[in-house]
């Protein structure tokens, strides 16, 4: 079982993700440079938070042209696990791996704080260690986390049980239906604004984020990886 953390120019949570997997979860992990084109040997890929390409044009918009993203698409098409956290989520929507868009927060302010999210489904490789409805305490840190999708897409996401997380008690950014994270059609791609990488150790204020990485480990182990 091997995890990979992609580094785009401007990523700044790459080491947090690497640390969470290597030290907290105790699984093999390697960095993947954005110009690499092979994901051979990897079982799960993490697109970390940060400000890829300086957030120029739109958040996540230019990262989709990084050579590695074509490989990430192929990897996801074959069922590989891909998790995009914060800027990683923005990259996944811009690349078309997940539907919808992350718009500027409705308050127009960057919000950085702990909040609660509820687990909306346990039926995914990222949430199998949680119960449906389980509330997690996980921090956010973003200026563009306002999830938007047309009503047709929202209906489909709801109907197919593809909403992974919703903000619980407080919506920090204006996201439609309080959406904090969604799954792909194949359920092997997750995008979420909150940071499990910043909430996997008690020292950081919460260990709830660890459940997401543990779910991935569980899913991969179940698949014989």
């Amino acid at each position: 079982m091997k995890f990979g953390v992609v580094i785009f120019p401007g990523s700044n949570c790459d080491h947090d993700c690497y640390y969470a997997v290597q030290t907290v979860i105790g699984k093999p992990v390697e960095f993947i440079w954005h110009q690499d084109t092979s994901l051979k040997g990897f079982d799960a890929v993490i697109l970390p938070g940060g400000f890829s390409y300086g957030d120029y044009l739109r958040t996540g918009a230019l990262a989709k042209f990084s050579p590695v993203m074509q490989s990430v698409k192929e990897f996801a098409d074959k069922g590989g696990l891909v998790i995009g956290i914060c800027n990683g989520f923005q990259i996944l929507t811009e690349s078309g791996l997940l539907p919808g868009a992350l718009m500027r927060n409705v308050t127009r302010q960057y919000v950085c704080k702990f909040l609660n999210i509820s687990t909306e489904t346990s039926n995914s490789p990222f949430t199998n260690q949680m119960k449906k409805g389980q509330v997690l305490r996980i921090p956010i840190g973003h200026g563009d986390g306002n999830y938007f999708a047309d009503s047709e897409t929202l209906k489909r996401l709801n109907g197919e049980d593809r909403i992974a997380f919703r903000y619980h008690g407080e919506n920090p950014n204006g996201s439609l239906e309080n959406i904090a994270g969604i799954l792909s059609e194949g359920r092997n791609v997750l995008g979420m604004m909150p940071h499990p990488d910043r909430s996997s150790e008690a020292l950081l204020g919460s260990t709830d984020g660890k459940l997401i990485f543990e779910s991935m480990v569980n899913a991969l182990a179940g698949a014989g990886r």
């Binding site: 044009l57 739109r58 918009a61 929507t93 811009e94 539907p99 919808g100 868009a101 718009m103 500027r104 927060n105 409705v106 308050t107 127009r108 938007f148 999708a149 047309d150 204006g174």
Partner: protein, 82 residues
């Protein structure tokens, strides 16, 4: 060959920045401003020697696939008179 690509949020998408600008100008004494929508524009120069047809095709592709996120935005192209 020059073009300006203007990108705006779709009319159905809420524009918090535009709304804030509108509210601010209201408080500075311009209540006549009913609505402001914020967008962005890009000046695009096409290399010399490219045919007008190809130039139009290129700018269209750039606007559609790079400069705009079709989920929330739309664009229009203004060509500079030659």
């Amino acid at each position: 060959m020059k073009a300006t690509v203007i990108v705006t949020l779709k009319p159905t998408v809420l524009d918090p920045q535009g709304m804030t600008i509108q509210r601010s100008v209201e408080s500075m004494g311009l209540p006549e401003v009913a609505d402001v929508r914020q967008g962005k524009y890009f000046d695009v120069n096409i290399a010399d020697g490219v045919s007008p047809d190809r130039g139009k095709e290129v700018v269209q592709k750039l606007a559609k696939e790079v400069l705009t996120n079709p989920v929330i935005e739309e664009f229009r192209i203004v060509w500079e008179p030659r």
